[in-house]
């Protein structure tokens, strides 16, 4: 297979198999593009597989990444090469030649069954777990590893022959050699990730000699169920549970230590919050958590709410301070932290049992070499230099970057960049559509209609998520006694490859014909288990998931007995229901390949251009009378990019594109259809004439509004302006700016408040940008920025630093002690409390700039959300399907969201999301038909009295009375709501998958148990 693929120049090389690389590869593969995915490690998954949980949902990471990992392995368009690095690159965009070198694994992947015999007998010949792994090391990094195979470290093996003999599968191959191979590709995506800062040389932190000083990643491993202590939180030195844990932020970031980066590492504040919350969650009152920080940077979508939860619900203590040192007095196991507080010059000392260093991201020597081979330029922090408005585009055409290799960032942003890179890399491929190599394997379905139900119940412990609250063995015993249950088993992580394989085998060997999984939500995992059933030769609708995690152990963790009882009930109900299940067939409809983009700002236009360039017909519906959106009011970026030129150029391209039709003054009024074939009606133009557009994809790029709260004399005094107005004023009135003596800026005006709790993300860098611009015009101006936390994340930190060097005074204020603003003739008096001086200070400002940030366009978002049936966040932005894993997909297939309609963000971030959306849309547009599932209503003609009630009840007008005189419902048109079912007086209609007898079986089973 490899040879046939490698000689053609029709593919994309993705370097790095972390979460970002996997996303890029999957997006390309789903859009039917060939991909070679390489990783230097033994398995793919990257950094994320080492995390215990992720913010802000505190989900288990493995659970969320695992489906993606196995997905990436099975995709027929992806060739996966592990233990492989790039040795050489030549050529250019459209025609690269790359030499790949694969190290020997000494294991034949085709043969290895991952039985673990080699590990049991020869634990020495093994690598893995970075630091802290005092359990038997394993070369399989985590239970859901892909590829599911071991690797051997020959250098450490003493008795090679015995090792070879131990493997029953004969998979150990000592003749394995390093392999060099030459491949051709059209474009390259680099997502090799970044290293984590190593604090060993910072002796005042004691990391290298005090075992209880750990990095945040090590702490994560300690918390993890697959970690060295099996998920128990224990001090490495004493093996006892700590009572006081402290986090120190910005280790290796924001340029304060030796070899630290000048940038902010972006994700560490949320990371520390998560660790503190999880710690509190598990141990509640038994443990104290303290975070030492400089600025809490929770600027992402709804992240501020997470910070508030940590403060208010979990009682995490926050101390704005940079500790001076960590020492361990002789003869004690305590760690003594010395620090000072912001309102004091005294030195404080406090004892902790464990100290976690929130270490930031750093590029590694490997990735720097990779950059050199690729011929891409790096910035002073050794991250790639990227295009002004498009952060995934490097200085070398055809080479794209994503994830933490591009710059420090968290998972959602990595995912967005990964999709964006997929979009741009795909655009470099030759036009011809490449067919898949091998025809799909036909899955044979066993006919079970005449069989007596034979149910298998598989119950996950999901690590601690289920197993720590309830006794899974009890659940298994209980399930085994239920009617029709032939097999009941505990499955550990049911979604791991080994468990999936075990379930598949059990189905086949025991001849099961129905399956119940006791685990997480069917919303996230139903599809995965449906696939599994197909592989086991069963119709995919013969499975039911009992949601004993999200709806039992997670919510009743405080009452384990009740949780266990409820889990028993839920499993019993699922068994009763699945017994009634029967095989169903999916409905498919043709995919309409037109795209509707709602909103003609930078985001909408970027997405439109990408898709139009791929040959799809795109309609842009813009509410106002011109394109450009909020960017029409912006002049330059923090980095100095010319926004006006950028927008003008883009508008020109959009207007002249043959495949794009722009509809201005468009008001969307109605919407119907289903994924793949939507019809949207709108009124447009001066006459508000009505028209309809048929499309298969809808992209929401409706933007957000500039906030304008009635505060601090805004709109009352001409001397008070928003940052947006200030920017234009500086440009238009430099003479007046030259006369300014004092300028005050107030941050978080209308953001991070009770009414609008979230951070607006853009304002801190705006204040820095405008401060620097004022100083360029008038170097003598004195500028005071009153802030709560400076959130100049990632490389913005450099400009914050620059502003301070040039004399801008940054003063922190408390939310409960806001500055007081009074008009005083030609000036504005701004009075604030200075914590260091311990007194009020008044500045007579010539100009007051308010950082008012952004708010969702409540009215029009509400309207659109109702028409399109889409969810929104509590503050009115559109709510994506999954914060981390599907950040631009909406829950309704065919709908995507990008730009500030999603949450406040900068232009380059909006452009990245727009590219990401274009990639995600192409995964659907590449299909000729899409599956609607099997949930459709079916009429039993024998029972139908043709009373027309269903005809009237159906919200979509699907049922009709056919020639035989009874009601008929076209399954391809049915939306599957079941309203006709509940209205039908003769009970002649049943909704597949939700048949009455299945629902009633659940009800009866529930009470049978209770009354019994």
């Amino acid at each position: 297979m490899q040879n046939s693929k490698t000689n053609q120049n029709n593919k994309v090389l993705v370097v790095g198999g972390g979460l970002g690389g996997i996303r890029t590869a999957l997006d390309l593969a789903e859009a039917k593009k060939n991909v070679i995915l390489i990783d230097k490690d033994y398995t793919i998954g990257g950094l994320m597989t080492q995390l215990d949980r992720t913010f802000p949902t505190n989900n288990c990471d493995l659970c969320t990444i695992a489906p993606h990992l196995s997905e990436s392995n099975r995709q027929e368009y992806i060739e996966l090469l592990t233990m492989t690095t790039v040795s050489n690159v030549s050529g250019e965009k459209g025609n690269f030649s790359v030499t790949l070198t694969s190290k020997p694994r000494y294991i034949n992947l085709e043969r290895c069954t991952a039985c673990g015999d080699c590990l049991t007998h020869f634990p020495g010949c093994v690598r893995f777990n970075p630091g802290l792994d005092h359990r038997a090391p394993t070369c399989m990094r985590y239970p859901q590893a892909t590829p599911q195979a071991y690797s051997i470290d020959l250098d450490k093996c003493e008795d090679v022959e015995a090792l070879v003999k131990i493997c029953k599968a004969g998979a150990i191959n000592l003749d394995d050699m390093p392999i060099n191979r030459e491949i051709k590709c059209s474009s390259i995506v680099l997502s090799p990730g970044a290293d984590v800062f190593d604090p060993s040389h910072l002796d005042y932190l004691g990391y290298s000699n005090l075992p209880d000083v750990v990095t945040s990643l090590e702490y994560e491993r300690i918390l993890s169920a697959s970690g060295p202590t099996g998920g128990e939180l224990l001090c490495p030195s004493t093996g006892k549970q700590p009572k006081k844990v402290a986090w120190i932020q910005c280790i290796g970031s924001r340029g304060l230590q030796k070899e630290a980066g000048a940038y902010c590492s972006n994700a560490c504040c949320m990371f520390a919050l998560k660790e503190a919350i999880v710690t509190k969650e598990r141990f509640q009152k038994d443990i104290e958590t303290t975070i030492f920080y400089m600025d809490m940077r929770t600027f992402g979508k709804d992240y501020e709410l997470y910070l508030n939860r940590a403060k208010n619900e979990f009682d995490v203590r926050f101390l704005r301070s940079r500790p001076h040192s960590i020492l361990q007095p002789d003869g004690t196991t305590d760690l003594t932290l010395s620090y000072t507080k912001e309102d004091s010059t005294k030195r404080f000392e406090e004892q902790f049992d464990m100290v976690v260093l929130s270490t930031g991201f750093k590029t590694s020597a490997d990735t720097r070499q990779l950059a050199e081979k690729m011929g891409i330029e790096l910035n002073s922090d050794f991250f790639p230099i990227t295009e002004e408005f498009n952060p995934v585009v490097t200085t070398k055409p055809g080479v794209y970057v994503a994830g933490t290799f591009e710059g420090p960032k968290d998972i959602p942003e990595t995912m967005v960049q990964a999709s964006a890179a997929a979009c741009l890399a795909a655009a470099d491929l030759p036009e011809t559509i490449v067919e898949a190599q091998a025809p799909k394997e036909e899955l044979v379905e066993r006919d079970v209609l005449l069989e007596e139900p034979k149910v298998g119940v598989f119950i996950c412990d999901c690590g601690d998520n289920i197993g720590s609250v309830v006794n899974v063995d009890n659940l298994v015993a209980h399930a085994a006694a239920l009617p029709y249950v032939a097999v009941a088993k505990a499955e550990g992580h049911g979604c791991s490859r080994s468990s999936m394989e075990d379930i598949r085998k059990t189905i086949v060997e025991e001849g099961l014909n129905r399956v119940v999984i006791g685990g997480c939500s069917p919303r996230t995992h139903e599809e995965k288990f449906q696939d599994l059933l197909q592989k086991a030769g069963l119709n995919k609708y013969l499975v039911e998931i009992a949601n004993i995690r999200d709806q039992a152990t997670w919510v009743h963790s405080g009452k384990p007995k009740e949780a266990e009882k409820k889990a028993e009930d839920l499993i019993a109900m699922s068994v009763a229901s699945v017994v009634q299940a029967h095989p169903l067939e999916d409905q498919t409809i043709p995919m309409n390949k037109n795209v509707l983009v709602v909103g003609g700002g930078i985001t909408g236009m970027t997405a439109a251009l990408n898709l139009a360039d791929r040959g799809y017909q795109v309609y842009i519906a813009e509410k106002s009378d011109k394109l450009g959106g909020l960017a029409n009011f912006l002049l330059t970026t923090l980095e100095g990019g010319d926004i006006q030129a950028f927008v003008a150029n883009m508008i020109e391209k959009v207007k002249s594109h043959d495949n794009i039709q722009v509809i201005t003054r468009a008001l969307i009024v109605d919407h119907s259809g289903m994924p793949g074939m939507f019809t949207t009606g709108m009124q447009s133009g001066p006459q508000m004439s009505y028209r309809q557009i048929e499309h298969g994809i809808t992209i929401l790029a409706t933007g957000a509004k500039s906030n304008r709260p009635k505060q601090y004399l805004l709109d009352e005094s001409p001397l008070v302006k928003t940052q947006l107005e200030t920017q234009r004023y500086l440009f238009e009135n430099p003479d007046k700016v030259k006369q300014w003596q004092n300028v005050v800026m107030i941050q978080c005006v209308g953001s991070r408040t009770k009414d609008n709790p979230n951070c607006s993300r853009i304002c801190c860098q705006n204040a820095v940008k405008n401060s620097l611009a004022i100083l360029d015009i008038n170097p003598d101006a004195r500028i005071f920025v009153l802030y709560r936390d400076m959130r100049t994340y990632a490389f913005q930190e450099k400009y914050y630093q620059m502003a301070r060097e040039r004399g801008v005074v940054f003063v922190r204020y408390d939310q409960d002690k806001p500055p007081v603003v009074e008009a005083a003739g030609d000036t504005i008096d701004v009075t604030y409390y200075d914590t260091i001086l311990g007194m009020n200070v008044t500045v007579c400002a010539d100009n007051l700039c308010l950082s008012t940030g952004m708010i969702a366009d409540q009215e029009s978002n509400k309207e659109l959300a109702m028409i399109f049936k889409l969810p929104r966040t509590e503050d009115g932005y559109f709510l994506e399907d999954h914060v981390k894993l599907r950040p631009v997909d909406m829950p309704v297939p065919g709908f995507f969201v990008a730009g500030t309609a999603h949450s406040p963000k900068l232009i380059r971030e909006s452009v990245t999301q727009a590219n990401a959306v274009a990639a995600r849309a192409q995964t659907m547009l590449a299909q000729d038909e899409i599956s609607l599932g099997a949930t459709a209503a079916i009429v039993d003609g024998k029972l139908c009295a043709a009373c027309l009630i269903c005809v009237r009840a159906c919200p979509f007008g699907v049922p009709f009375i056919n020639a035989d005189g009874y009601s008929e419902i076209d399954p391809a048109k049915c939306h599957g709501c079941g309203m006709c079912v509940s209205e039908c007086p003769a009970k002649a209609i049943q909704l597949m998958q939700f048949e009455d007898d299945r629902i009633l079986a659940k009800v009866e089973q529930l009470f049978e148990r209770i009354t019994a």
Binding site: N59, S557, M866, V892, T1011
Partner: protein, 140 residues
């Protein structure tokens, strides 16, 4: 009846309330375990038959949770559900069952908090009402 623990069936729409219940899970917002969720594609699918059967079998309370007004994925399933609930409530009174034992609520997918709140309030309400008279007569 000091230790009376009511059994409550919650028919939850897949698109909103069921998602909100999962969200309550991921945010670890506790609510009484008395509430047992049955997933339906739309609150409009919940038949009078399902509700009455639940009471017949011994439910102390039943609620149907659909999307917020105007947000139904299928246009008006939640409105139809609300009408049906009002109808069944009348019917319950006729057969001597307090109509408060049945309720229609609206919860959007993003409202994990509200899901937990509603579950707690309804459980408390039913606890005060005491066991369903149907259950009492069945055990006689």
């Amino acid at each position: 009846m000091e230790n009376f623990e009511p059994v409550i069936v919650a028919f939850c729409c897949h698109y909103c309330a069921y998602t909100a219940a999962d969200m309550a899970g991921s945010q670890r917002l506790p609510y009484p375990s008395n509430v047992k969720i049955i997933r339906v594609p739309c609150s409009g699918q919940v038949d009078s038959l399902h509700i009455v059967k639940a009471f017949e079998k011994g439910a102390d309370g039943v609620y149907v949770a659909g999307c917020l007004d105007g947000d139904c994925h299928f246009k008006n399933g939640n409105v139809k559900a609300a009408k049906r609930i009002a109808y069944v409530q009348k019917y319950l009174e006729e057969i001597g069952l307090e109509s408060e034992r049945l309720e229609m609520v609206n919860i959007s997918a993003g409202m994990g908090h509200r899901f937990a709140e509603v579950a707690s309030t309804i459980t408390e309400k039913i606890r005060k009402l005491g066991p369903s008279p149907i259950k009492a007569s069945a055990s006689l």
